[in-house]
């Protein structure tokens, strides 16, 4: 009888230890996730403060929009310029796309919308899609291809295969000059043009996409309403 009681106690303390281990592991996972989020959040902030240095601000405005930057829509009565650094394969950009289109229809009269490339290394077709859009842009079909990419993103995004053939199909659908399109895609200068945008973004401290600049200033908003309000405020100026 006594022996039995002892065994029970032993088993119970063993159980207690394993429970403590499991709960500690769970707690460790939570702490690790919190630390990762905090670190990732403070990362870009450090570069922001670097941009805030006088020298940084002086050169910043000229980096945000360049002569060759693609204008999605030019405001008739321009009061502000909204620039988006984006990656066509980034899902957040795809998620932001309908909202940006909404802003474009709402404030297009007073706000000029500019799109700049910022292909991220994490996706296989980020560069391919940017090159395809750039090749279309050379034929004056930048906006059509830009829309096509986001509207079809779910069909080709996250793929482990090269989707250049799919993008070529989009160009055909848009009725582009395919010989010129193929030449542009093959031309290293097209890729260099994409990388030119990306280099500007990096110099501006862009680390992820989508990143927006409103009138040359990095736009920091927490919600769509704030975003809308910020654009509305500059449009009304």
């Amino acid at each position: 009888m006594e022996c039995h009681v002892k065994d029970n106690a032993k088993a119970e303390s063993g159980l207690k230890t394993s429970k403590i281990i499991v709960w500690s592991l769970l707690a460790a996972v939570i702490i690790a996730a919190v630390v990762a989020v905090i670190m990732a959040q403070s990362g870009p902030k450090a570069s922001d403060s670097a941009n805030a240095a006088p020298e940084g601000t002086a050169s910043q405005a000229s980096l945000v929009v360049r002569e060759n930057s693609h204008i999605l829509s030019q405001a008739k009565d321009e009061k502000a310029v909204l620039v988006e650094f984006l990656d066509f394969e980034c899902e957040s950009c795809g998620a932001a796309y309908p909202f940006v289109e909404e802003l474009r229809s709402k404030y297009g009269e007073n706000v000029t919308f500019v799109q700049r490339y910022f292909p991220l290394p994490g996706h296989l077709n980020s560069m391919n899609s940017a090159v395809a859009v750039e090749a279309a842009a050379q034929q004056g079909s930048h906006e059509a291809m830009y829309k096509k990419m986001f509207e079809t993103q779910s069909q080709w995004g996250e793929s482990a295969d090269n989707k250049s053939a799919v993008f070529r199909g989009y160009a055909e659908e848009l009725g582009l000059d395919m010989a010129a399109f193929d030449r542009a895609v093959a031309d290293p200068a097209t890729k260099a043009r994409v990388e030119f945008d990306k280099a500007d973004g990096q110099a501006l401290g862009v680390t992820g996409t989508p990143t927006f600049f409103l009138d040359g200033e990095l736009l920091k908003v927490q919600s769509l309403e704030q975003f809308d309000a910020a654009v509305a405020a500059t449009a009304a100026n």
Binding site: W23, I30, A33, S92, A95, G208
Partner: protein
């Protein structure tokens, strides 16, 4: 017998999970109605481009059976609530009733898992009140299953029942952590403002 599997305590488990799930479903139904009336309606759960019920409601996944999913929620969680009241009132429900409840909750959990996978991997937008429903489904499924094991509603070897009984709370916590982690990992760039 673990405390939560006792009559009164289990009635409270059903009451809390049922109430939380029902309220979240009801809010989603009301928001859905508001969106029918005015397609431009900004829902109370449109926080940013990644956390937005409004954007999730626009998808086919949000009305899998041709009508808004939360309508299922307000019917199904009402059954959980009614059962909670019966249990708290001291009802001694037949085994087949518990089996039926188990079957319903399992189906509900399967649906919730599917919605979770769609939100994370297909839609890439989170819906706050949908997540409240997931949060209610986890303890409801785990604790009901363990309760039914303990009471012999679901036949199982003693060792399985003993294991499930000891680890019930931990299983609930572990699922919470895994689900939360899946959201953090998947939406990492969004959370960190990338």
């Amino acid at each position: 017998m673990p405390r939560f599997a006792q009559q009164r305590a289990f009635g409270l488990v059903l009451l809390v999970t049922g109430a939380v799930g029902w309220v979240a479903s009801a809010i989603l139904v009301l928001e859905r109605f508001a969106m029918y009336k005015n397609p431009g309606h900004v829902t109370s759960c449109d926080v940013n481009p990644w956390v937005s019920c409004g954007r999730v409601m626009g998808t086919w996944q949000s009305q899998l059976f041709g009508f808004p999913n939360p309508l299922i929620g307000i019917v199904a969680f009402a059954i959980v609530l009614a059962t909670a009241m019966a249990v708290l009132a001291g009802a001694d429900l037949a085994r087949w009733y518990w089996l039926g409840l188990q079957a319903g909750v399992v189906l509900g959990a399967v649906f919730a898992v599917w919605l979770w996978s769609q939100a994370l991997f297909e839609i890439y937008v989170l819906c706050l009140y949908c997540m409240v429903v997931w949060a209610a489904m986890v303890p409801l499924l785990v604790l009901l299953t363990v309760r039914n094991l303990v009471h012999g509603v679901i036949p199982a070897p003693k060792a399985v029942t003993a294991f499930a009984t000891t680890w019930a709370g931990t299983i609930v916590a572990a699922i919470y952590v895994v689900v939360a982690l899946s959201v953090v990992v998947r939406f990492f760039p969004a959370i960190t403002g990338g």
